[in-house]
């Protein structure tokens, strides 16, 4: 049953892949530590470069996955030291992390959060190893109708769980899917929304899309904070650098619970690290916060979101590897990266490309150890990254973006398109949209349409095929329940006391 893992370690332990796992962990921590640049931006910026290195698919994926998990580690730095979340997953980390730093315990806080991240990630990687092959076995039974239902479920779980505003999440996803429909229609050869421009016949290119959406919009957004002085220079003193065993043991229950919770949330399609952090923090607050110390620098309040967001990062690989449905915005980008290599993740991956699936999982074990080893002693060094001024950071992002896009498309249209998408992404972010649904819609939309049409081609146009099997019916019910319950439950709860009185 675990043959794939043994093969995977064979792949991951080659010198090249070990080096890439290490490089990914290092780059990821650095990118995660930079304020504003989270895992998704880091991967967007570095992906085209990784692609041009001519690495085999499994090596590229190991590098990118290392960046992803590394960035989840690194995101905590600016949360703790500056009260500015390094990425969306680390928002809850500021609540207790920064008060700890103010108490002069920044060093132990960094150490503890590294340990919590490690434990959360370890739980989730073990979960991934156990559940992914099982889920893949179920997923083999999926036909186009089931896949279509699954994607409907993914989109509805995303609109409910992701972001503050479900309507905007849904709009973002629809916009993403619409962008994905540009280009020649694979079924009939009809051009859709190409406006007669030959550059658009192949659709809006994935690399152009992610670089524009994430890197260029980030540059524009950073301009707003260019003159914010509090971010730039003042780092609180780290204090003692190591966390004591006693402090770690005091948080062990929190870390274990949050790790499991984070894994489950990560597995749910469409919900990523930010949801995991928020849910685990509120859960732990309810469970262990007897003296109301959460929010004032409680170690447990720091350990909970850190264990959970790293666990969710590993958990989100489960649906991506087994079903081809990304569990988060970042895995959507990784999925797109795999498609550049003509590998479509899905249930067959464990049998057809075991070196990719197994190699990735094995490299997560290795990367996690590397990350702990890097992050415990070197926290102070990484913290220095926070003092990099924006006038260095922004040009560097711009150069990497241009070289990345120019590398793959040596024509100006691609670069213009990247800038247009960048402005579009900036406007969406200013309007309170999260970009993860857009990229998920863009990546999943094409698959969704393809599966819908394939299903209806099988049935000769009879739509009842979409909910005929037990699996798809269950997914439809789950999707509808997710959409309806958040409105229904509060209404029922409100009615009950009045009915009793």
């Amino acid at each position: 049953m675990f043959d794939f893992l043994i093969e995977g370690f064979g792949v991951a332990l080659t010198p090249l892949n070990l080096g890439l796992a290490f490089l990914g962990a290092l780059l990821g921590t650095l990118f995660g530590a930079l304020p504003g640049i989270g895992p998704i931006n880091g991967i967007a910026i570095l992906m085209p470069l990784a692609y041009t290195l001519g690495l085999p698919a499994e090596s590229a994926l190991i590098l990118l996955a290392g960046i992803y998990t590394g960035a989840e580690y690194g995101g905590r730095m600016s949360s703790i030291l500056l009260n500015v979340p390094g990425d969306a997953g680390a928002v809850m980390t500021t609540l207790d992390g920064h008060p700890l730093a103010k108490k002069g315990l920044a060093g132990p806080a960094l150490g503890l959060s590294a340990v919590a991240s490690f434990i959360g990630a370890t739980i989730a990687i073990i979960g991934l190893t156990l559940f992914a092959p099982l889920l893949a076995r179920v997923a083999v039974m999926f036909g186009p109708a089931e896949f279509f239902a699954l994607m409907v479920f993914a989109f509805s779980s995303m609109s409910v769980m992701m972001g503050k505003d479900p309507i905007k999440t849904a709009i973002g996803a629809v916009l993403g899917v619409l962008i994905g429909t540009v280009g020649v229609d694979s079924g009939t050869g009809v051009m859709r929304y190409t406006f007669g421009m030959p550059e658009l016949y192949d659709g809006i290119d994935f690399v152009v899309m992610i670089i524009g959406l994430f890197a260029i919009s980030e540059i524009l957004l950073m301009l707003e904070h260019a003159h914010r002085k509090d971010v730039d220079n003042e780092l609180p003193p780290l204090g003692r650098v190591f966390v004591s065993l006693k402090e770690v043991l005091a948080c062990k229950g929190t870390m274990l619970r949050s790790g499991v919770l984070g894994f489950i949330i990560g597995v749910l399609p469409g919900t990523g690290a930010s949801v995991a952090g928020a849910v685990s923090y509120t859960t732990e607050k309810r469970l262990v916060d007897k003296d109301n110390t959460f929010g004032t620098g409680d170690m447990r309040g720091l350990a909970a979101p850190e264990a959970a967001n790293n666990a969710s990062a590993a958990g989100s690989f489960v649906p991506m590897l087994t079903l081809g449905i990304p569990g988060s915005g970042t895995t959507a980008v990784l999925l797109g990266a795999l498609m550049l290599y003509n590998i479509t993740p899905g249930p067959m991956m464990f049998s057809q490309n075991p070196e990719v699936a197994g190699g990735l999982i094995a490299s997560l074990y290795i990367g996690n150890l590397v990350l702990l080893a890097l992050n415990l002693p070197l926290a102070g060094v990484f913290a220095k990254v926070l003092t990099i001024p924006r006038w260095v950071l922004v040009p560097a992002i711009a150069v990497l973006s241009f070289v990345g896009v120019y590398q793959l498309h040596s024509d100006l249209t691609a670069i213009y398109l990247m800038l247009i998408i960048g402005v579009f992404g900036y406007l969406l972010r200013k309007l309170g949209f999260s970009l993860a649904p857009v990229i998920l819609g863009y990546v999943l939309g094409g698959l969704m349409e393809e599966n819908l049409r394939r299903a209806l081609a099988i049935s000769g146009g009879d739509t009842s095929i979409l909910w005929q099997s037990g699996i798809s019916l269950g997914l439809w019910i789950a999707a509808i329940a997710l959409l309806v319950l958040p409105w229904l439950v509060p209404m029922l709860l409100k009615r009950r006391p009045s009915a009793q009185s």
């Binding site: 041009t52 309507i167 619409l178 859709r192 929304y193 524009l220 309007l431 349409e449 000769g460």
Partner: protein, 144 residues
């Protein structure tokens, strides 16, 4: 007025939905065995988008903080610079175009002149070396 941004967005999205729908309907489909065709999916999306944008217009969220005039000018400045970069990139080559644009960008992000110029020179030539020797990427070379 404070709710204007989301309302404008909602109206713009309705326009987009209508445009997608009209465009989808005008697609000419040659004979095929595909019972769905290329129209149905974009059409469904445009209906969904239309409905969602109606909700947005009726129940707009908070307006957020929009850039003031000074910031807006600098935003346009950054965009113009990136556009100039795109134009110069293949003509002047990587090193020179990057050097100019990096220095100007750094200035826009409030670096002093000496710092901006130093960043431009170091990053452009360092990057050139790193990309060509470290990553084996062929970049547009010098113009002469």
């Amino acid at each position: 007025m404070s709710l204007a941004a989301d309302r404008c967005l909602g109206i713009a999205l309705m326009g987009l939905a209508a445009f997608t729908a009209v465009n989808a309907l005008s697609l000419e489909v040659p004979f095929s065995y595909d019972p769905v065709g290329p129209k149905a999916f974009p059409l469904g999306l445009s209906i969904l988008l239309g409905l969602l944008s109606v909700v947005l217009v009726i129940r707009p969220g908070e307006n957020g903080h929009w850039p003031d005039k000074r910031l807006a000018l600098r935003l346009i400045g950054v965009l113009a610079l990136l556009l100039v970069y795109a134009l110069l990139f293949p003509r002047l080559g990587f090193a020179i175009s990057s050097m100019l644009v990096i220095a100007a960008l750094a200035r826009l992000f409030e670096a002093s002149w000496p710092k901006a110029i130093a960043t431009g020179v170091l990053m452009a030539f360092g990057g050139q070396w790193l990309f060509t020797h470290g990553l084996g990427i062929t970049l547009p070379g010098l113009p002469w």
